[in-house]
Symmetry: C2
Subunit: 211 residues, 2 copies
């Protein structure tokens, strides 16, 4: 049995944030596929035994079950000694971008992709509204990356791993990233990290069966 077990599925960018951390850090880990699309995360049993929030990722480690990607990344920094900080100001700056990601970027972009790509909703008032919110967040990140190699400091941290979670799927989100050139170059830097893999190559469940 691996040291770390990650409850996940290939289409989850939130799970990818953690999977990428484990993989790039050379951790001994195994992905455990969760049948999200048939409701597995929203059963009473899952809520009682795995995560009351009804969500993945969940990381099993040393008898702990951790949820929320931002918490798991913080935990793994401590365990693995990778993608972290060297002082408290950097720790807070990293947390600031992890919170921005959760509140303003992933919150809208993941949902936009879900509606467009998974639910095949077509263009609606909701997708139009979500795209506006997502573009506002992308513009903030793009401006921040102007003149920077990574989000905080000179090396990649969990802030980068969190913010990039959904951004290797621009076609599925339906937002052309060329308008955000600093983001494009930053994603290229992340792809060049030794061991980088696309979410569909890192977690099980791709492709989705035909509906």
């Amino acid at each position: 049995m691996s040291e770390y077990t990650l409850h996940c599925f290939a289409q989850s960018g939130n799970a990818y944030k953690v999977a990428l951390m484990l993989e790039l850090s050379g951790a001994d880990w195994t992905p455990q596929w969760v049948d999200f699309f048939n409701g597995a995360t929203r059963t009473p049993e899952f809520r009682a035994d795995v995560n009351e929030m009804g969500e993945i990722p969940v990381l099993d480690h040393a008898g702990r079950k951790l949820s929320q990607s931002g918490v798991i990344l913080d935990y793994l920094v401590e365990r693995l000694g990778t993608f972290g900080w060297t002082n408290d100001d950097d720790r807070r700056e990293i947390l600031r971008w992890v919170l921005f990601d959760n509140h303003k970027l992933t919150s809208y972009i993941a949902t936009l992709r879900f509606l467009r790509f998974i639910m095949k909703s077509g263009e609606t008032e909701v997708t139009k509204w979500l795209e506006g919110r997502a573009r506002a967040a992308l513009a903030v990140l793009d401006a921040h990356l102007d003149g920077r190699s990574f989000v905080v400091g000179e090396t990649p941290t969990i802030a980068d791993l969190s913010l990039c979670g959904y951004l290797f799927w621009p076609d599925e989100i339906g937002i052309e990233l060329n308008r955000y050139p600093h983001i494009v170059r930053w994603l290229d830097r992340l792809k060049a990290l030794p061991g980088w893999r696309h979410p569909y190559d890192l977690m099980p469940g791709h492709p989705l069966p035909a509906a």
Copy 2:
């Protein structure tokens, strides 16, 4: 001059999370009103000098400018010694709920209130969709509070202060909280804390001028 200056406005539940922390902790603080409704947080000057994310709250303290309510609350735990944790597992459990708040509760509920109450959007596909997301998050929180006095442990922490940020405005959100009885009783417990004040009594800018 006060020790802490909080850039804020009365209608911001995200600013309220920090204002309430400062007030309940007896900190020496002053609110500094930001003219959000006339775009003050989105000017190039604000982004350059105060917060590149174009958002409040921002806390000025000892030469630092901190943003993202979750970061500021973490910082204030360290400075003030209040509403924090006694061990690392509790610290992570608190962070888990702060992230849930940002990603799943405030992200949708604050926006729903903004559309309905500030923008007078009326009922649209977007408000309907946001209400569904907000109700899913409220149900998770309500179930968690069943049998608990506070979100983590036996005393209030920054997890409570974060999650309650918008919930003293049910009328403005347009969601009747009676369906979430554990949330109602928890909010009553927070209101009973010595020094508690409603957001409109704690920060400047209420009421809004007539449009």
